[in-house]
C-alpha cells in the first residue's frame, strides 16, 4: 500500500506529515529542530529514508541535518560552506559593490541516483555539492565566478540560489535559478555555466531583456520532459520548451501574474499549478481569496481552484519552495502558507483540505511517495 510523507520546513522547525494513499487522515509529527529556521527538507529519490534538512539561524548560522530513517532520528552533517578562493563582490541594493557572504542554504537537491550525493543552493548565491551524504561540501565555483556575477543583485529575500533541477536523463545537465540574477544552465556537471534567460522581460532592471538580472522566483520541471521548464518570475509566468534556451509568457488569464510557487502535475506534464499573489508590495493573495490556479494546457488558460480553500478574509502568502506534488494517481498537490496552514489536494487540485492549520510560517513543502 502506498503512502505519502510531506516534509515541511517552517520559521520555527520542521514537521513531517504522513498519510496512506487515500490522503484523508494525517499524522502530524514535530517540531524537529524547534526554534530554528528550516528552509528546506528533502528526501533522496534513491533512498526515501534518507532525508536532508537545512537548518539555520541568524544567530547561530547554518546546520545541515541528515536522517537515515525517514525523519525519526537525525544527525548533524558538515556545515562548512566555503567559497572557493577569495570571493569578489556582487552588487548591493543601492548599486554599490558588496562582499559575497555565506548566509544559509535555501535548497537541497539530492541526486536521483545516489543518496549520498546532493547539491546545496546558498545565499549569497553559490552551488555546493557533497558526495558523502553532507559531511563535507565543496563549491562548484564556475557559477559564482561567472563573468556576469559582479552585477548580480539580491532580491528582497537575499541573493539566493533557490532552484536546482537535475536532468534525470543527462547526469551533467543542471539548471539553477538565482534571485535576482536569473536562470543558469550547465551541461558539464557545473564546471561551466551560461545564462538561460532569453525571452524574459523585467521592468525592474534598466535593460528589460538583459542577459541577467531577472528576479526568477521558482522553476519547475516534469522528470519525463526535462526540456520543458515552467517559471514563476517576480511578475510573469513563463515556459521554455528548449531547456531554458528561450522563454515565452504563459500568464494568460491569471488575475495577477506575480507569485512564488509553480509546480507540474506528476501524471500530466501539461498540467501546472501556481498561486497568484497580489503584487510585490502586497505579499498576500488577491481579494482575500486563497486560489490555486491550474492550467491543463501548459499555460495561457487557467482555472481557479477554490473548493476547500478560504474565499474570504484570507491574506496569506505561499513562498517559492512551498508547493509539491506526489506521484500517486490522481496526483496529490500540497502547499504551505505564511499563516502556517498546509493544504492537500488528493485529486489534482479539484478539492483541498488543510492537513494542519497552525504551524509557524511555512518556508518549504516537499512530498515523498512511498511504496
Amino acid at each position: 500500500m502506498s503512502s505519502v510523507r510531506v516534509l515541511v520546513g517552517t520559521r520555527k522547525g520542521a514537521f513531517i506529515l504522513t498519510a496512506d494513499a487515500a490522503r484523508k487522515r494525517w499524522e502530524v509529527e514535530g517540531p524537529h529542530f524547534a526554534g530554528w529556521e528550516i528552509y528546506h527538507v528533502k528526501g533522496a529519490p534513491a533512498d526515501p529514508d534518507r532525508l536532508y534538512a537545512s537548518q539555520s539561524s541568524g544567530w547561530f548560522g547554518q546546520v545541515l541535518q541528515r536522517s537515515n530513517d525517514g525523519g525519526k532520528t537525525w544527525e548533524t552533517g558538515g556545515n562548512q560552506f566555503l567559497y572557493e578562493g577569495t570571493p569578489g563582490p556582487h552588487t548591493w541594493y543601492d548599486g554599490s559593490p558588496h562582499p559575497w557572504e555565506f548566509k544559509r542554504v535555501w535548497h537541497l537537491e539530492p541526486s536521483p541516483k545516489d543518496p549520498d550525493m546532493l547539491y546545496a543552493g546558498a545565499e549569497d548565491a553559490a552551488l555546493f555539492t557533497s558526495t558523502d551524504a553532507g559531511q563535507t561540501w565543496s563549491e562548484l565555483p564556475a557559477l559564482r565566478t561567472h563573468q556576469t556575477a559582479s552585477g548580480w543583485a539580491p532580491g528582497a529575500g537575499g541573493l539566493c540560489l533557490h532552484t536546482i533541477l537535475l536532468d534525470p536523463n543527462d547526469g551533467g545537465r543542471i539548471v539553477i535559478a538565482i534571485s535576482s540574477a536569473g536562470v543558469f544552465k550547465s551541461d558539464d556537471s557545473g564546471q561551466s555555466w551560461r545564462p538561460a534567460n532569453r525571452g524574459l522581460r523585467s521592468n525592474t532592471i534598466p535593460d528589460q531583456d538583459a542577459e541577467v538580472g531577472h528576479c526568477v522566483h521558482h522553476v519547475a520541471m516534469h522528470p519525463s520532459r526535462p526540456d520543458v521548464l515552467f517559471m514563476q518570475k517576480h511578475w510573469d509566468v513563463m515556459r521554455s520548451d528548449d531547456g531554458g534556451e528561450s522563454w515565452r509568457e504563459i500568464s494568460g488569464n491569471l488575475p495577477t501574474d506575480f507569485g512564488f510557487v509553480i509546480d507540474v502535475n506528476a501524471n500530466d506534464p501539461e498540467t501546472i499549478y501556481v498561486v497568484p499573489i497580489t503584487s510585490d508590495s502586497h505579499h498576500f493573495v488577491p481579494d482575500g481569496k486563497l486560489r490555486v490556479y491550474r492550467s491543463r494546457t501548459g499555460g495561457d488558460e487557467w482555472e481557479p481552484l477554490t473548493e476547500g480553500l478560504p474565499q474570504k478574509d484570507c491574506y496569506v502568502n505561499v513562498l517559492r519552495d512551498a508547493m509539491a506534488v506526489d506521484s500517486l494517481d490522481p496526483c496529490g498537490v500540497y502547499f504551505g502558507t505564511s499563516g502556517g496552514q498546509v493544504y492537500a489536494s488528493p485529486d489534482g487540485g479539484d478539492s483541498w483540505t488543510p492537513i494542519v492549520r497552525d504551524l509557524p510560517p511555512v518556508l518549504s513543502v516537499e512530498v515523498q511517495t512511498l511504496s
Binding site: 529542530f33 526554534g35 530554528w36 539561524s57 541568524g58 544567530w59 547561530f60 548560522g61 546546520v63 556545515n79
Partner: protein, 98 residues
C-alpha cells in the same frame, strides 16, 4: 570543571541541558573553552564562532560574572570564578528582532 550555559537553540542542537560541564587543560580562555565545547559536542561547530577564522559570530555574546566579555581577546584568561567553576560562562544569542 568549567560550566558553560548554552542558549536554548544550541541546547536543542547539541541534545544537552542548559549547562555543559567541561574539563579544560591549561589556562581557561574563551578559545580553550570553546575548543573543549566543540570537541565534546561537534554539532556546535560553526554555531558560536566561525570554523575557519574562529571569530565569534556577530550575534553571539559571552557574559561572565555579570560582565560582557565578548570583545575581550579570545586568549585572555577568563575570570577566576569561571575558571574555578564557581560561575558559568554564558553564551548568549543577542537580543534582536523584538
Amino acid at each position: 570543571m568549567i560550566q558553560v550555559v548554552l542558549p536554548k537553540n544550541l541546547q536543542i542542537l547539541a541534545g544537552v541541558g542548559r549547562v555543559v560541564e567541561l574539563e579544560v587543560g591549561g589556562t581557561a580562555t574563551q578559545r580553550s573553552v570553546l575548543d573543549a565545547l566543540e570537541a565534546s559536542h561537534p554539532s556546535l561547530l560553526g554555531t558560536v564562532r566561525d570554523q575557519v577564522s574562529k571569530k565569534r559570530r556577530p550575534m553571539v555574546r559571552f557574559f561572565a560574572c555579570e560582565e560582557d566579555i565578548s570583545e575581550e581577546s579570545p586568549d585572555a584568561p577568563l575570570p577566576e570564578e569561571v575558571a574555578s567553576g564557581k560561575e558559568p560562562l554564558l553564551i548568549i544569542g543577542a537580543i534582536a528582532g523584538g
